[in-house]
């Protein structure tokens, strides 16, 4: 590369980030398009979309010198080209091979990115794609044949015999015959056989080394491993000098027009760029934090001035607008499930289809990451435990293929995600038996929803066999804990023989929570409203001491452990987390409000019993209590 080239592209790493991100998007779209393809009647637009995505990756990888990616995407592209031109029928085998190849490209990208240590092995994927591309194609192909340069002319009779022979095999066209010493014979032939057959026929008349066969259908040459290219890389249809001369002449003829154009040129490209721009997450988080500060400052001002101003509304709207930037569609999570369901069901010998809806529902980016695992678990459960084997379904008069519905919707400040299957449903008797085994207290005639609640208990599982899919032990309790950590809830509904539905409800964002503020010894503390069950005034006589265990409070039939936050607090706030409850004794209930969550770990340090902090309207810092820990804690706990 020249100095200029080295300067402009030598530091290609500047383009790497763009390329990686773009390749991720392309690969995700390839995967989702492949999964939606109907092998019987592939959608032409989808095939073109897949082709273009792979083609794009290849092109940019070539510029950046990622030879191994070029190599694999090239073979990938060749197969796609045959498929989209209908020269090979699309079957499940091709779809599977392409999905696998996409995975290898993904790990190649990860390797280049530095997140994957070893170089992925692409040979198997390439061999598989190549085998499918070259497998006896049903449709005839066109070959470009060139014989020569000839050492001496071929006898006319022999030439005639050869062409006639070829005409019997296929169709010959475009003959250019220059049958002299040093000349060449060129023609195209379309036939169904392999190139080797053609070569052997031609070798009967000319020396094998003079037989040149190119495949017109797959015209592209093998990819160059390194970017800089040979001299044939540029093909000018008009010489620059001639072009300039012609343009000069035209310009002299119509000076007026040109001037008008220059004026148009001088005008800035006014049209606003529709579409989107990319911004780093750090920048957005900084914006969110700044707006958080602004909200607090505004609240302080309002409190001091004692007047409501327009500023309050503008600030709130600004905050909403900024939070909206962090929102991403849930399709980012949903899109992985079709593949998961497909692979799982194949492995388990089941037939399953997943139906997605509400994929455009948006939620906070931070939540997306943390909701992925619990949802994956629920979908796995649905395939593994929910759906029956095809025979069993048929015997019950159900279609052999089961369905899993994954639905997302927004309701107020919450996102509701439902994972529903049309499988066998929960087995009430089995759950009750398991509960008895584990000595869990439940009445035999308890209503269904109470029975289903048992499945959320740690270690509770009724799966009879341990499968490598859902395993055993970690189950619904982990799902519930994860969701609760996000300030959300999980509900289960089921009917025998008709299926199970799990409804997950999470807040739209983690950065702002609905909170209850309480007074403890003159300080203000914050409780996430989602964890508060109820609150009530407690008389001194209501607290029962149990030897060595601290006090308990009887709430209906349950004895709850008491956590004395305030030394003389008479108000009990009943909180719930991880399936457990506790009564927190406080001095006063101050109010309910939205608070902006500030991490203590990043601003200060982690404190047991405190999950985060917030800044109140008066500018004071208030601590947000870590309810799960308070519930778990055995001894009475008091904030320091």
């Amino acid at each position: 590369m020249s100095a200029v080239a080295a300067k402009v592209l030598g530091d290609a790493s500047a383009f790497h980030a763009i390329f990686f991100e773009e390749a991720d998007e392309h690969l995700a779209s390839v995967e989702s398009l492949l999964l939606r393809l109907d092998p019987g009647a592939p959608d032409a637009e989808a095939m073109n979309g897949i082709f273009r995505a792979v083609h794009s990756i290849k092109g940019s990888a070539g510029m950046l010198g990622f030879a191994e990616i070029v190599s694999l995407t090239h073979v990938f592209e060749n197969l796609l080209d045959l498929l989209r031109k209908g020269e090979r029928p699309l079957t499940r085998a091709e779809v599977d091979a392409m999905l696998r190849a996409g995975d290898v490209v993904k790990s190649q990208i990860a390797h280049r990115r530095g997140t994957l240590a070893q170089t992925p092995d692409r040979s198997a994927a390439e061999a598989e794609l190549r085998a499918l591309a070259t497998a006896a194609t049903a449709a005839p192909r066109e070959f470009q044949v060139r014989l020569g340069p000839l050492a001496q002319p071929i006898a006319d009779a022999e030439l005639e015999t050869m062409l006639c022979g070829l005409a019997e095999m296929g169709q010959v066209s475009g003959q250019e015959i220059n049958n002299i010493a040093g000349g060449e014979i060129r023609f195209r032939v379309t036939l169904a056989g392999a190139e080797a057959d053609l070569r052997s026929v031609l070798s009967l008349v000319v020396e094998p080394s003079l037989v040149h066969i190119g495949d017109a259908a797959v015209a592209e040459p093998a990819p160059q491993a390194t970017p800089p290219v040979n001299d044939e890389s540029v093909d000018l249809f008009e010489a620059p000098a001639a072009f300039r001369a012609r343009r000069g002449a035209e310009r002299r003829q119509s000076p007026g027009r040109r001037e008008g154009e220059r004026a148009a040129n001088a005008a800035p490209a006014a049209q606003g760029e529709a579409g989107s721009i990319r911004v780093s997450v750090e920048k957005i988080d900084r914006l969110v934090n700044l707006v958080g500060e602004l909200v607090i400052t505004e609240a302080m001002l309002a409190q001091r001035l004692g007047v409501q101003t327009e500023l309050a509304r503008h600030t709130r709207e600004l905050q909403e607008a900024v939070m909206a930037i962090r929102m991403v569609p849930i399709s980012a999570v949903f899109s992985r499930f079709p593949r998961l369901v497909r692979e799982l069901s194949q492995r388990l010998g089941k037939q399953a289809e997943i139906r997605l809806s509400g994929e455009s529902t948006e939620l906070d980016r931070g939540l997306i990451e943390r909701i992925t695992d619990p949802l994956t678990h629920l979908v796995r459960n649905a395939v593994d435990h929910g759906l029956e084997q095809p025979e069993e379904r048929a015997a019950r008069g159900k279609p052999r293929g089961g369905e899993i519905f994954l639905t997302a919707s927004q309701r107020g400040g919450s996102i509701i995600i439902e994972v529903r299957d049309d499988g066998r449903g929960l087995d009430r008797q089995k759950i009750l038996a398991r509960a008895a085994e584990r000595r869990m207290a439940i009445a035999p005639d308890a209503p269904d929803h109470e029975v289903w609640q048992l499945t959320f208990e740690p270690g509770f599982s009724t799966a009879e066999t341990v499968t490598d899919v859902s395993g055993r032990g970690v189950g619904m309790d982990v799902v519930r804990r994860n969701i609760q950590q996000l300030g959300g809830t999980v509900e289960l509904a089921s009917s025998a023989g008709a299926g199970t539905s799990v409804t997950v409800r999470v807040p739209l964002t983690l950065a702002i929570i609905e909170a209850m503020t309480v007074g403890v010894d003159g300080e203000t503390y914050v409780l996430p409203l989602a964890s508060v069950v109820e609150s009530r005034r407690v008389g001194a006589g209501e607290l029962h001491g149990v030897a060595g265990q601290g006090a308990t409070l009887r709430v209906r039939d349950e004895y709850l452990p008491v956590r004395r936050l305030a030394a003389n607090g008479e108000i009990a706030v009943i909180v719930e987390a991880d399936g457990g409850r506790a009564a927190l004794m406080v001095d006063a209930l101050i109010g309910q409000q939205q608070v902006v969550v500030k991490s203590l770990e990043t601003n200060f340090r982690r404190i047991p019993g405190i999950s985060a902090a917030t800044i109140m309207g008066d500018g004071k810092v208030a601590l947000i209590l870590d309810v799960p820990q308070l519930v778990k804690e055995n001894a009475a706990w008091k904030p320091q």
Binding site: M1, S2, V4, A5, K7, V8, L9, A12, A14, F15, I18, F19, E22, N48, G49, R52, H55, S56, K58, G59, S60, G62, M63, L64, A219, E220, P221, Q224, P227, P228, V229, E232, S233, V234, D235, L236, F237, E238, P240, A241, F243, R244, R246, R247, E250, R251, R257, E261, A264, N265, A266, A267, A269, A270, Q271, G275
Partner: protein
């Protein structure tokens, strides 16, 4: 006044690379993500040169070239196709549509600047 060049490619990284190369030589670059968007932009103002990919959604490069040649203002603007596809048949189609030249991807930045300079000087 520096010349303006329209760079058309649906692959963002490729588009950025072409744009960076051209900008490094002082050209003013405008980008479009496919033929249709490019045509829109070309209608709004006359660029001094266009570098376009061929295989793109909505409108491919050769179709864009044909459409641009249909506009009186683009009679004498150099239109260069930049594509991984280099088949003779497709090139001929590009030429018939009115393309000024065809460059293969991956491209050599120096060579690209060289070609562009020749058409713009």
């Amino acid at each position: 006044m520096s010349h303006s060049i329209l760079v058309v490619d649906d692959t963002r990284s490729m588009r950025k690379m072409v744009a960076t190369v051209l900008q490094s030589a002082g050209y003013q670059v405008e980008e479009a993500a496919d033929g249709a968007e490019a045509l829109d932009k070309a209608r709004g103002r006359v660029f001094d040169l266009v570098v376009t990919d061929h295989n793109m959604p909505r409108m491919d490069g050769v179709t864009l070239v044909r459409a641009l040649r249909g506009l009186a203002e683009y009679d004498d603007v150099a239109l260069i196709v930049l594509s991984t596809e280099t088949g003779a048949e497709l090139k001929a189609k590009g030429r018939d549509a009115g393309a000024t030249g065809w460059m293969a991807k991956p491209f050599d930045p120096t060579k690209m600047l060289d070609i562009v300079r020749q058409f713009l000087s």
